[in-house]
C-alpha cells in the first residue's frame, strides 16, 4: 500500500495538478472579476467554449498558436460583449442571461465547426501548439517536487499564475479595482461619486471574457491540438464553485483551482496505475463529486459582494 501511495504522489502528479488547474484558474478569475462588480456569471462554460473554438480555428488558419491564442481571446471577448449588453443595458436577469449565453455558445461552436472545418466532432489538428513552447525557468525548476510543477510548464500555465498575482494587485491597489469593489457592494454610491457603474460592469465582463478566452485557448491549443465540441466538460461550473470556495479573491480562487487540478490529476494517475480496481468512470467523476464536497464545506464561510446579481438602473432610462 505504501508503495502504491508513492507511486501515486510523484512529481508528475504535481506537474499535472498545476497544468490541469489552469483552465479552471482562468475561468475562476473571470468569475471573480465579473462577480466582484456585481454581475452573476454562470456563462463561463459557454464563453470558454467559444474561446477554445476560435483559438483552434485561428491558430490552424495562421499556422501559429500565438495568433490562435489572440484569436481565442478576441472571440470570447466579443461573445461576452453580448452578455454585458444583455445584463447591463438590457437589465436581463443575470442567471437567465448566462443560461442563454451557454445555449448560444454550443450552437455557435457547432455551426462554425461545420462552416470552418466541414465536419462535426473534432476540428483539424494544429501543426504547432503552445505545448511546443514549454520552457523551464533555469534555477527554480530544479527544486524537487515543486520545481517541475511550477517552473517547467507551458506558456498559459505561467500566464495563469501571473494573472492571479496581477488581478490581486489590480483589485487591491488600483482605481479600477476599487471601482469594481464599489460597483459590487454599493453601486449607487459609486454612481453618485461620478463613476459610471455601467462602464465598470461592461469592463469587468469584457475582462472576464478575456480570461475565459485564455482558459478556452489552453484547452484547445495548449493541452491538446484541436477543438472538440463540448470540450469544456463542466469546467465552467467547477470554476463557479472555485470562485465561491475562494471567497471571491484571486488568491483563494487559485488554491481552490489547484485543488480541482489535483483531483483531476489524481483520477488520471490512479486510473493508469490500476489502483483500487474501480472502473474508469468512477475516477472520471471525482472532480464533480469533489466540487460538491468543496461547495458544501466552504460556502458558509464566504460572503458574496452585497449587490451581486442585483440589477442596477439609473433614472432617466426607464421613464414611467
Amino acid at each position: 500500500m505504501n508503495g502504491a501511495l508513492l507511486q501515486l504522489f510523484t512529481p508528475q502528479l504535481f506537474e499535472a495538478m498545476v497544468r490541469l488547474a489552469t483552465p479552471v484558474t482562468f475561468a475562476a478569475l473571470a468569475a471573480v472579476i465579473c462577480e466582484r462588480s456585481g454581475v452573476t456569471n454562470i456563462a463561463m462554460e459557454g464563453v470558454m467554449l467559444v474561446g477554445a473554438f476560435f483559438a483552434a480555428w485561428v491558430g490552424w488558419l495562421a499556422g501559429n498558436p500565438w495568433i490562435g491564442m489572440l484569436g481565442g481571446v478576441a472571440g470570447s471577448m466579443l461573445f461576452s460583449l453580448l452578455f454585458a449588453w444583455a445584463v447591463v443595458s438590457l437589465h436581463f436577469n443575470h442567471v437567465v442571461a448566462g443560461a442563454i449565453m451557454n445555449i448560444l455558445a454550443f450552437g455557435i461552436t457547432r455551426y462554425l465547426m461545420m462552416i470552418c472545418f466541414g465536419r462535426q466532432g473534432t476540428s483539424e489538428s494544429l501543426p504547432r501548439t503552445l505545448q511546443d513552447y514549454k520552457f523551464a525557468i533555469p534555477v527554480l525548476s530544479k527544486i524537487p517536487y515543486v520545481g517541475p510543477a511550477l517552473f517547467n510548464q507551458t506558456p498559459l500555465v505561467y500566464l495563469s499564475i501571473i494573472s492571479v498575482i496581477v488581478l490581486s494587485w489590480v483589485l487591491l491597489r488600483t482605481r479600477f479595482g476599487l471601482s469594481i469593489n464599489a460597483a459590487g457592494e454599493h453601486p449607487m454610491a459609486l454612481e453618485t461619486l461620478g463613476r459610471s457603474v455601467y462602464k465598470i460592469r461592461y469592463s469587468a465582463v469584457l475582462l472576464s471574457g478575456l480570461f475565459c478566452g485564455l482558459a478556452g485557448a489552453f484547452l484547445s491549443i495548449e493541452n491538446s491540438n484541436s477543438f472538440t465540441e463540448g470540450m469544456t466538460d463542466g469546467r465552467g461550473f467547477i470554476a463557479l464553485a472555485a470562485n465561491i470556495a475562494g471567497a471571491w479573491k484571486p488568491g483563494g480562487v487559485f488554491i481552490a483551482s489547484l485543488f480541482f487540478g489535483f483531483v483531476d490529476a489524481l483520477q488520471l494517475r490512479a486510473q493508469s496505475l490500476g489502483l483500487l480496481s474501480l472502473p474508469s468512470e468512477v475516477f472520471l467523476a471525482f472532480p464533480y463529486v469533489a466540487t460538491i464536497i468543496a461547495v458544501a464545506g466552504l460556502v458558509r464561510r464566504s460572503r458574496p459582494p452585497a449587490a451581486l446579481g442585483e440589477d442596477f438602473r439609473i433614472e432617466g432610462e426607464s421613464e414611467t
Binding site: 488600483t174 482605481r175 469593489n181 454599493h186 453618485t192 461619486l193 463613476r195 452585497a306 433614472e315
Partner: protein
C-alpha cells in the same frame, strides 16, 4: 456670519414629473454665497427630488439651473461634482466594507504608475479632518462606524472634492442632540469659509437655529420663503401642512387591565446578526387592552425586539412568556396560530408578496385552515369572498380582489397588511413603524383601527421612531437605548422632551422634576 450678495445657485421654474405624479411644481429658489439655506417640508413634499435634480441624478422635466450665473445642465453626478456641488445623502452613499479613506477618495483617487497612493490619500484625509474638526480614523471600515461618524465621512467626501455648494439631506435624522450641535458648528465654520449650504429637513426648530433663510415646500410646490430670524415655528408648521394641525385622534382609556400580562419579556438578551449584544436584560410587559409604545432612535435594538417577539431569531438568555406560557423557542408559525398578529416595519420586504393578488396576500399565514383550504386544496371562492369582505371593512381602495398588490398605493398596501393581521382576531399585536411613508389620511385611519382593537381587549406592542406617533396612541411608553430599557412611564406622566432625552442620552438623562 453674514452671507454675501451674489447668487451662487439658482433654480428657475423647475418642474419634475414621474408619469402622472408631479414631484416638483415650478420651483424657483436661490442660494447666496456663504449662506445656510433650509428647505422644509413634510415627507413626500418633493425636497429630495429637488436635490437629486440639483445633483444630476434626475433631469428636470422643465426649468433651468444657474450656477454662478451660468446655465448648467448636469447629466450625471460626475458633472455636478466637477462643478463644485457636494451632496450628503439621507441614506448614506458609503460602501460598507471599504475603509473611510477608500470611501472618501473613491472616484478621485491619487494615482501614480497605476496604483493608488494610499499613504498620500490618508494624509490628505487626516488634514481635512483636522482642518474642519471632523475627527475620524482613516483606516476604519465604514461598516464598523456608528451613524454619526458615518455622516462625517459623507461630509468629508464632499470637502475632499472641494465642494463650494454643500447639500445635506435630512442630516439630523439619526443624530443625538450633541451630535447635532457638533454638526451645526462644522456647518457654521464652513459657511464662514465661503461654502454655501443647503439643508433639507422636516425639523422646524433645527432649521430655524442653523439657517439664514428658509423655504417651505408642500406637495411639490414652493409655498413660502422666510428670513430665519423673523419666522416662527408655528407659522412654518402651518405652511408645511397647509392647515393648523394636530393629529386629532382620541385616545381611549385602556380597558381594565388583568394583573397578568398577555406578553412578558423577562431579562431578555438577544444578539444581533453580527454577534453583538442587541437587547440586554429587557423586562417588558404588555397587558390586554393597552398599547405599550417603545420609543428609540433607529438601531438601538428595535429590530431584534421585533424578531424575538415574533419568533424569527433566537434569544441568548431570558424568556418570553405569552398567555403565561414560555414561548421563547416557538417558531413564528406557532406564535401566529396562538393569536399573535404582526405588522412589520417594511411592508414591501416582510409584509406583502408584491406580485401576489389581494386575495393571495390576505391569506398569507392563514392558508392552512378551513374554510380557506381543505385537504390541501385552496377554496378560491372562499378566498375571494374573504378578500372582498376585508377590502370593504378596511377601506382598501382597489378595483377587485384579483388586483396585484404592487399596483396599490403605499397607504392601501399597509391597509392590506392591517386587514390581514387584524382579521386574525389576534390576542396580541406587534406593530412596527405602521405609518412610515403614508399620507395623513391613511395615518389617521390606521390609528383609528388600532384603537378599535385596543378597546376590544387586544394587547398591543408598538415600536416606532416617531415620538408624535407614540404619544398619539400609546398608553405606556418605554425607551430603548443601546438595547436596554432606560425609561418607562405612563404616557400622561411624561413629555416628548423627557422621552427624547432618554432616547438620545440613555441612562445619562436625568429624570425631569
Amino acid at each position: 456670519m453674514t452671507p454675501g450678495q451674489q447668487n451662487v445657485l439658482e433654480t428657475q421654474h423647475i418642474t419634475k414629473r414621474f408619469g402622472h405624479l408631479v414631484a416638483n411644481d415650478d420651483i424657483s429658489i436661490l442660494l447666496k454665497k456663504g449662506e445656510i439655506l433650509a428647505i422644509l417640508g413634510e415627507n413626500g413634499a418633493g425636497k429630495t427630488t429637488l436635490m437629486n435634480i440639483l445633483f444630476g441624478l434626475y433631469r428636470p422635466t422643465s426649468g433651468s439651473i444657474k450656477l454662478q450665473g451660468v446655465d448648467v445642465n448636469f447629466r450625471s453626478p460626475r458633472e455636478a461634482i466637477a462643478a463644485g456641488l457636494g451632496m450628503v445623502h439621507q441614506h448614506f452613499m458609503l460602501v460598507p466594507p471599504l475603509t473611510v479613506t477608500q470611501n472618501i477618495i473613491l472616484g478621485q483617487e491619487p494615482v501614480k504608475n497605476g496604483h493608488i497612493l494610499y499613504d498620500k490619500a490618508k494624509k490628505e484625509v487626516q488634514e481635512l479632518s483636522r482642518r474642519f474638526g471632523l475627527e475620524i480614523d482613516p483606516d476604519a471600515p465604514v461598516m464598523d462606524l456608528p451613524v454619526g461618524l458615518q455622516q462625517r465621512v459623507e461630509i468629508l467626501k464632499a470637502l475632499y472634492r472641494k465642494a463650494s455648494v454643500l447639500i445635506l439631506d435630512e442630516p439630523t435624522a439619526v443624530l443625538s442632540p450633541r451630535e447635532v450641535e457638533e454638526l451645526f458648528e462644522v456647518l457654521k465654520k464652513l459657511a464662514a469659509n465661503g461654502t454655501s449650504i443647503i439643508i433639507i429637513t422636516h425639523k422646524l426648530e433645527e432649521a430655524l437655529s442653523i439657517a439664514n433663510r428658509v423655504y417651505v415646500l408642500r406637495r411639490g410646490k414652493l409655498v413660502a420663503e422666510m428670513d430665519a430670524t423673523r419666522a416662527t415655528p408655528q407659522e412654518l408648521a402651518n405652511q408645511m401642512v397647509g392647515r393648523p394641525v394636530v393629529l386629532s385622534v382620541e385616545k381611549p382609556t385602556p380597558t381594565s387591565r388583568d394583573t397578568a400580562p398577555i406578553l412578558k419579556l423577562e431579562k431578555l438578551c438577544v444578539r444581533s446578526q453580527r454577534g453583538l449584544p442587541a437587547l440586554v436584560n429587557v423586562d417588558l410587559s404588555v397587558h390586554r387592552g393597552e398599547i405599550l409604545g417603545i420609543a428609540g432612535v433607529e438601531g438601538n435594538g428595535q429590530d431584534e425586539l421585533c424578531k424575538a417577539v415574533i419568533g424569527l431569531c433566537g434569544i441568548e438568555s431570558g424568556s418570553i412568556r405569552y398567555k403565561d406560557k414560555d414561548i421563547s423557542h416557538w417558531n413564528s408559525r406557532r406564535r401566529i396560530e396562538a393569536g399573535v398578529g404582526y405588522i412589520p416595519e417594511d411592508r414591501h420586504t416582510s409584509g406583502l408578496v408584491l406580485p401576489f393578488t389581494l386575495s393571495e396576500n390576505l391569506i398569507l399565514g392563514k392558508s392552512d385552515r378551513p374554510p380557506l383550504c381543505r385537504h390541501g386544496i385552496l377554496n378560491k371562492r372562499e378566498i375571494d369572498s374573504n378578500a372582498t369582505k376585508l377590502m370593504q371593512q378596511y377601506d382598501v381602495r382597489a378595483e377587485r380582489p384579483s388586483t396585484t398588490v404592487s399596483t396599490l398605493s403605499g397607504g392601501n398596501q399597509q391597509k392590506v397588511v392591517v386587514a390581514r393581521e387584524f382579521s386574525r382576531n389576534p390576542d396580541f399585536l406587534l406593530i412596527s413603524q405602521p405609518t412610515r411613508g403614508l399620507d395623513v389620511g391613511a395615518i389617521e385611519y390606521i390609528y383609528k383601527k388600532i384603537n378599535e382593537l385596543k378597546v376590544q381587549g387586544v394587547g398591543i406592542l408598538l415600536i416606532s421612531m416617531e415620538l408624535e406617533e407614540i404619544f398619539a396612541i400609546a398608553d405606556r411608553i418605554a425607551v430603548l437605548h443601546k438595547g436596554e430599557v432606560v425609561f418607562e412611564s405612563l404616557a400622561q406622566a411624561t413629555s416628548q422632551t423627557e422621552v427624547g432625552e432618554y432616547m438620545f442620552r440613555g441612562k445619562l438623562a436625568r429624570r425631569a422634576q
